[in-house]
């Protein structure tokens, strides 16, 4: 029982970070039909902004803040203006290819210009653990889970309760109509990109103390975010949340109870089953088109 609880808690802590990446992924998809294959690298990169800040002698909190600003600028504004916008008229496929190339570019740049080896990364939460019915829970786990939930909860409130948030939803659902109704859709799409950049930065700061900052970290996170988004529902924020948590837990459970050699296969099989049985995802609503 203690063993199961331990796995569950570890899985939720990891899953909450996957959820952050998956939510950003979903938002971009909704707002601009961007399937961002560089999403993993978006989570990898901000950690290095923090490390550079620390290298300049900034205290951790200031370095994180600076990293957030740089992330909003680079992963939000520049990504949209320089890459996505010029490519939107071409349709989705060239953009998919460009994001694959962007991921490669980010990965290789970090490797060449920062370091090819993993770097220790300071935790923003205190060290130490607590015991819970026999399971060991670290403050980092608790902090990650709470931070991620608060971030996603706040985002959901923003989208549901504010005028801007609803305009963003309208833009996602039907850009042409939203534009006619006077919504500045370009600005709304930009907000989406900024939110994604912010979520990526948070995820990066949360995950790097555990993963260690490394240029190749994005490979795993990107794939997991992708699976979480589809499993949960490609067009729902809470879908991505549930998907992220689910994948985190399933990954850990299957490593212990199914097969460590095939642990990576279980989420993938789940993905295929979901696509076949319930293509809109667990919590998604059908988009109702076949072609």
């Amino acid at each position: 029982m203690a063993e199961f609880l331990q796995i569950l808690i570890s899985g939720l802590a990891a899953g909450s970070i996957y959820a952050l990446a998956a939510v950003g992924f979903t938002l971009l998809w909704q707002a601009s039909q961007t399937i961002n294959f560089a999403q993993g690298e978006f989570v990898m990169l901000p950690a290095f902004f923090v490390l550079i800040g620390i290298g300049f002698g900034l205290p951790l909190w200031l370095a994180v803040l600076a990293a957030l600003v740089v992330s909003l600028l680079v992963l939000g504004v520049f990504f949209k203006k320089l890459l996505v916008e010029p490519m939107l008229p071409h349709g989705t496929l060239p953009l998919v290819i460009a994001t694959i190339a962007l991921g490669l570019l980010m990965k290789e740049s970090v490797k060449e210009f920062y370091s090819a080896t993993a770097q220790p990364f300071p935790s923003i939460f205190p060290e130490g653990t607590i015991s819970l019915f026999g399971a060991v829970v670290s403050w980092t786990d608790v902090g990650n889970l709470v931070t991620a939930m608060v971030a996603i909860g706040a985002l959901q409130l923003f989208l549901d309760r504010t005028r801007t948030g609803r305009c963003m939803q309208a833009t996602a659902q039907n850009p042409a109509v939203a534009e006619i109704l006077g919504v500045n859709i370009k600005r709304m799409v930009l907000y989406t990109f900024l939110i994604n950049a912010g979520l990526s930065c948070i995820a990066s700061v949360l995950i790097s103390p555990v993963y260690l900052a490394k240029f190749s970290n994005g490979e795993t996170i990107g794939l997991v975010a992708f699976i979480a988004a589809i499993v949960g529902g490609f067009n729902q924020i809470r879908g991505a949340l549930v998907g992220g948590l689910l994948i985190g837990v399933i990954d850990n459970l299957s490593a212990v109870y199914v097969s460590a050699q095939y642990r990576a296969a279980v989420p993938l099989v789940l993905l295929i089953v979901i696509i076949l049985v319930r293509p809109q995802g667990l919590l998604g609503t059908s988009e109702g088109r076949t072609v």
């Binding site: 601009s32 010029p86 349709g91 290819i97 962007l102 570019l105 095939y262």
Partner: protein, 324 residues
């Protein structure tokens, strides 16, 4: 132009025949790699460029083809029998994978194949009794054609070239046949194609399965070329690599994948001076290319030619159907 075509093709083949003469083993080997990746990319081009479906599993089909060929030839079966069997296997797996995936929404083939590629990798790595696990299979024999042995690099190149020309010929026939032309009708206007009596799903499924078989064919040549295969060579990142080949060259153009494969295989060589930075340069190049010419290098050429009569492009981001 039409009358020139056979001449151009002959000149191209002559160039390929003459290319390795007087070159070292390395150049010859690299040319082999290029032709092999061209075959795989041509297959993906059928799926992507003609049928409009993204497959992210081409490397895994190469893997299935390579492992099947390796195991069969190492058990004493001749390559001439092993390779078609490997391709057939890929074709069948393509059908089995594509059938349910295409039954649901249009763009989900991309996601299913993405998962499939990693699953194949895991099976290749974990099923040690069959595949040798992470240590791979070593010592795959090169085919022997009674009078000619392909053990040396130059004969192997000509063997690869024959396979390449056969594949290209088959692909040309597929694309030009009335059956193949339907692909393009499908890509350009699926609704209309369906109303004209085309079975979209069956057509797309066949395109995917044939494309996968081409991947298997490429794998069947890679195995004896390298004489060693391991799961890592067929991981997801290699599927991305092949996808980039098709797009960079120009998807939907017959020679696009061949050009794209040339860029990817020969690029590290061309950018030697930049050493470790070549991937950064390559990635930047792809991004810029996508911005200015989403139809790839061939599209770029066509675009430059048509510069004087710009066509109006629809804002597809506003469409509901703007999908993968």
């Amino acid at each position: 132009m039409r009358r020139l075509a056979p001449l151009l093709i002959l000149a191209g083949i002559a160039a390929l025949v003459l290319a390795p003469l007087g070159q070292g083993n390395y150049i010859t080997y690299t040319l082999c790699s290029w032709l092999i990746f061209s075959i795989a990319a041509m297959g993906l081009n059928l799926t992507l460029g003609y049928a409009g479906q993204v497959s992210l599993a081409q490397a895994s089909f190469m893997g299935i083809g390579a492992y099947a060929t390796a195991l069969l030839t190492m058990a004493g079966v001749h390559w001439l029998l092993a390779a078609p069997l490997a391709m057939l296997l890929c074709f069948v797996i393509g059908l089995a994978l594509g059938y349910p995936a295409l039954r649901v929404q249009h763009h989900f083939l991309a996601f299913v194949t993405l998962a499939f590629n990693t699953l194949v990798f895991l099976v290749l790595r974990n099923e040690e009794w069959l595949t040798g696990g992470s240590l791979g299979l070593v010592g795959i024999p090169r085919p022997d054609f009674w009078l000619v042995s392909t053990m040396k690099q130059l004969p192997f190149y000509y063997f690869t070239l024959v396979c390449f020309l056969a594949s290209a010929g088959a692909m040309y026939w597929i694309v030009r046949s009335p059956w193949g032309r339907a692909f393009r009708a499908l890509r350009e206007n699926p609704v209309r194609a369906e109303s004209l009596g085309l079975k979209i799903r069956r057509q797309t499924l066949l395109a995917f399965a044939i494309g996968s078989a081409f991947g298997g064919g490429a794998g069947a040549i890679v195995a004896p070329l390298v004489q060693f295969i391991e799961p890592g060579s067929f991981a997801l990142v290699h599927s991305f690599k092949i996808l980039l080949m098709v797009i960079v060259g120009g998807s939907g153009y017959f020679l696009g994948p061949v050009l794209g494969a040339a860029v990817v295989v020969l690029l590290p060589e061309l950018l030697r001076g930049f050493q470790d930075y070549y991937l950064i340069l390559y990635a930047s190049f792809v991004i810029v290319l996508m911005i200015y010419s989403p139809t790839g290098l061939i599209g770029l050429g066509a675009k430059l030619a048509a510069k004087f009569k710009p066509a109006r492009e629809e804002r597809r981001d506003l469409q509901q159907g703007a999908q993968l």
